[in-house]
């Protein structure tokens, strides 16, 4: 075995660091899905009537739907009656301060490197921590409250700001949208809610950290972010899960609404448990993410680094309604071992002079299958619309695959669309060049991969960029054969 191959071997065989299980007392609903379960979830959370209505409508619609089959990933049929739809850490009473948080949970987040401790103000990131399906802690809430920013768990938002929830819930991703969105709308348990009022620039990064802990549960959270006129927010999302032999389903919905001149930046570092080396276990990550640039000159930017999950199947999208609005999508997706990814974006240009940029980098190693699937749609009235798409793939093994399915639909002649894609492997020449200069083959691969992803990584906020770069290293270094 050559030195390079050895390194690749080592790197691709690195263990998943976040695979531990936390032992907390849990409140768990019985397995299976029925109208009663939907009512139970709603009841547990003391939800207002309109939300229960919404859930039931979604559930009834879900029953009429079939799981889609068009995607380029394979997995055994999911038995939806074999999943626990509600699991929450038991809490006797309402928390007055973070000090009262279950120490087990606190130490879990501590282990994951997420500081829930408000003393650690230096980190400067407000965190909403979601443990299994329930938000357990939100930091910096008061400081944000002074500016009129609402940042809390979804359930609290339902309680305290029902009018906002009612107005925007399902306005971007209606429950009829797709199979998993319908399922989520019926059984979502918690998630994050964020509202930035007019003219406010959010002073710190907002962040949600998702942790799946209980076994045989599905995680169904819902995120709703509303940015009013001339506001700005940068939002981060991170996720991990313990190692389990059974596949777990994660079907979240994220809705973003940007009004006039508002900007939302949404970054994800997804590191769910990807399954073991033989493809056993791992998370099915079937997420619907969509943003609506409702106002003029609004902007939504998605950045994602997808390193985990057995299957990733998601398309963060932008609907560019407002004139001069901008949509962006930056993505790095890595598939190693038996991971599969079918990801990309949809940019729907409706308003005049709308612009979108899509940069997608796919890296496949081992038996990984990586697909980019995108849609650029220019509607009739989108005069002067502009799109640039670039999707590159890097192959790091001889059994992996990289695929591109770009759909382009143009109904306006003034639109300018460019699409380009390349696929290649790390060449022997490149490696030789670096090694010849005294760089170990491991570092050489790492340099090349990092260079390949740089365009996307530089979009991430600093803290995340560092984490993402490390993750890349863990997932891939030395994967050249």
């Amino acid at each position: 075995m050559s030195n390079d191959t050895q390194t690749i071997h080592d790197i691709t065989n690195q263990d998943y660091k976040y695979g531990f299980v936390t032992d907390v007392e849990m409140e768990i609903a019985p397995k299976g899905l029925s109208e009663n379960i939907v009512r139970l979830i709603s009841n547990k959370k003391n939800e207002p009537e309109f939300l229960l209505e919404f859930r039931l409508k979604a559930y009834r619609h879900w029953l009429t739907m079939k799981q889609p089959k068009w995607q380029n990933v394979n997995f055994p049929e999911i038995n939806y009656q074999d999943i626990i739809y509600y699991a929450a850490p038991k809490q006797k009473k309402k928390l007055e301060s973070l000090d009262e948080l279950d120490p087990e949970i606190r130490s879990t987040f501590e282990k994951l490197g997420i500081s829930l401790d408000e003393q650690k103000k230096l980190s400067g990131v407000a965190v909403d921590a979601v443990f299994d399906s329930v938000s357990v802690a939100t930091t910096f809430r008061e400081k944000l409250g002074e500016l009129g920013i609402i940042f809390c768990s979804f359930s609290e938002a339902v309680k305290n700001h029902p009018e906002l929830v009612k107005k925007y819930l399902g306005s971007v991703v209606p429950y009829t949208d797709n199979y998993f969105a319908a399922l989520n709308s019926a059984v979502f348990s918690d998630g994050s809610f964020c509202f930035i009022p007019k003219g406010v620039r959010c002073p710190m990064e907002l962040s949600t950290y998702f942790r799946m802990n209980a076994s045989e549960t599905g995680q169904f959270e819902r995120t709703l972010i509303i940015a009013e006129d001339k506001s700005y927010v940068s939002y981060l999302e991170g996720c991990t899960a313990p190692m389990r032999d059974k596949n777990q389903l994660h079907a979240a919905v994220v809705e973003l609404v940007a009004l006039d001149h508002a900007t939302i930046k949404y970054s994800t570092v997804q590191n769910w448990y990807p399954g073991d080396k033989n493809g056993k276990g791992g998370i099915y990550n079937f997420v619907t993410k969509r943003g609506k640039c409702a106002g003029v000159s609004s902007k939504i930017s998605w950045t994602q680094v997808e390193t985990g999950s057995a299957i990733t199947w998601k398309y963060p999208s932008c609907i560019l309604y407002g004139d001069n609005s901008i949509g962006e999508f930056y993505s790095v997706a890595i598939t190693n071992n038996w991971q599969q990814a079918d990801t990309g974006t949809k940019m729907i240009h409706v308003g005049e002079n709308t612009r979108s940029t899509v940069i997608s980098k796919g890296i496949s190693a081992g038996h990984g299958q990586n697909a980019y699937r995108g849609l650029i749609k220019i509607m009739k009235n989108a005069t002067g619309a502009r799109n640039y798409t670039q999707c590159d793939s890097l192959l790091l093994g001889n059994q992996c695959g990289a695929h591109t399915f770009p759909y382009i639909e143009v109904k306006n002649p003034t639109a300018k669309i460019e699409h380009e894609a390349t696929t290649s492997k790390i060449s022997e020449d490149q490696l030789f060049y670096l090694r010849q200069r005294g760089i170990s083959s491991e570092n050489a691969v790492s340099i090349i991969v990092n260079g390949f992803c740089k365009q996307v990584l530089k979009q991430l906020p600093m803290e995340f960029a560092v984490e993402a770069q490390k993750l890349l290293g863990v997932s891939l270094e030395g994967s050249v054969g």
Binding site: S393, L395, C400, G401, T404, V410, P413, T414, A421
Partner: protein, 439 residues
Amino acid sequence: MGILSSIKKREETFKERLSLLEKKEPSWFLEQRRDAFKQFSKTGLPTRKDEEWKYLNLSPLSAADFGEGKTTQKVTLPDWPSLADTIIITIVNGKWDAKLSHNLKELPKEVVISNLSDAMGSRIDLKKNINHPVADSNSLLFLNTAFFDCGLFLSIPDKTAVKKAIVLWHIVTHQENSLVLPRSLITLGKSSKLDLVEFFMGQTEASYLTNNVTEIVLGESSQLNHLRIQDENKNSHHFSLTHVSQSYQSRYTSASFSSGAHISRQQCHVMMDAEKTQCNLSGLFIAGHNQQMDHHVRIDHLKPEGTSSTLFKGIVDGEAKGIFNGKVIVHPNAWHTDAWQKSNNLLLSPEAEIDPKPQLEIFAHDVKCSHGATVGALDPMALFYLNSRGISLQKAQELLTYGFAHEFQVPFDWMKNNFECFLTQKLTGLKFGGAYEEV
């Protein structure tokens, strides 16, 4: 009633056809015809629910009554001066007409031209060459296989270079609502070489439906230069499938030009099923009025060291719709594949639509693949420049569009001038939808 709309009529026609063919064709092929008939009856015409047909609406076709046609008109031969020195095989309404063909005597003796049904009866080796494209499971192919009449078989033996180009001159003289089903099988032996032109033209203004299947089998180190020109009348519909299978070191070069037909779809599927094969595809389409033009290209790299390139240019005017789908599949073990694909599209009117979709599916490592697609309009600055120098807006737009189209070249020098004239004539017909104003 026609074959497409009436099940009863379809069954009757099929029985009749079979009883006539039973004496001519071998049983293995009759079996294939029966299977194809069953398949077509089961699926009918493709609908937009089928991912491969997402953008093309065929419902007007099933509503119209296409069936067997009757001829009333006389056949006239091409008025392309450059074709005088070629070998012309005239195919009238899907059937080869030896009397109307030209210069057949100039072919090398070993070259075989015959009726496909007869050829199959006498040559068992054709069994492995025909009906390759079944893998595409396209119901229009089934329709053709079930019903085609006679067909054409052209075979170039080993080590033969045919000096003069062979032209398959497809014309339709049938009246309204006829279904025309040409079928050809072309095989090239080892180290042979051929220049082939396929012309599709209607000589009536009637609305008919052409559903053509051309199968090409390339032997080791053979070389085929292939030009297709589709210029059917604007009331008709045109469907065609070109299926190419390549052997070791063979080279396939194809250029496809289309500007005719109301609803059309042209598919080209190349199976690079041997090492070191080469395939270069190019295409240009001009769609205006309410035309719907669909081009599907699929290249399968099955073995190592294949090289392929695809260049398609689309010009869409009026209320027309253009569709391009290019798929490159690199199978496991097809190492050192070099695949390149480009689709450029020009939208000339606010009502026009274009849906390009370049697609890459790669299952092998150590490959070099890239694709690109662009959509845009004419550059207003360039138009202004020309316009302000006294060139009329119409002329300026024609000039720029000509410049865009010029990247597409016919693969034969002897035809270049003739084709240029033809192209210019087609561009003059464009309306340019009034997106720009005269200075």
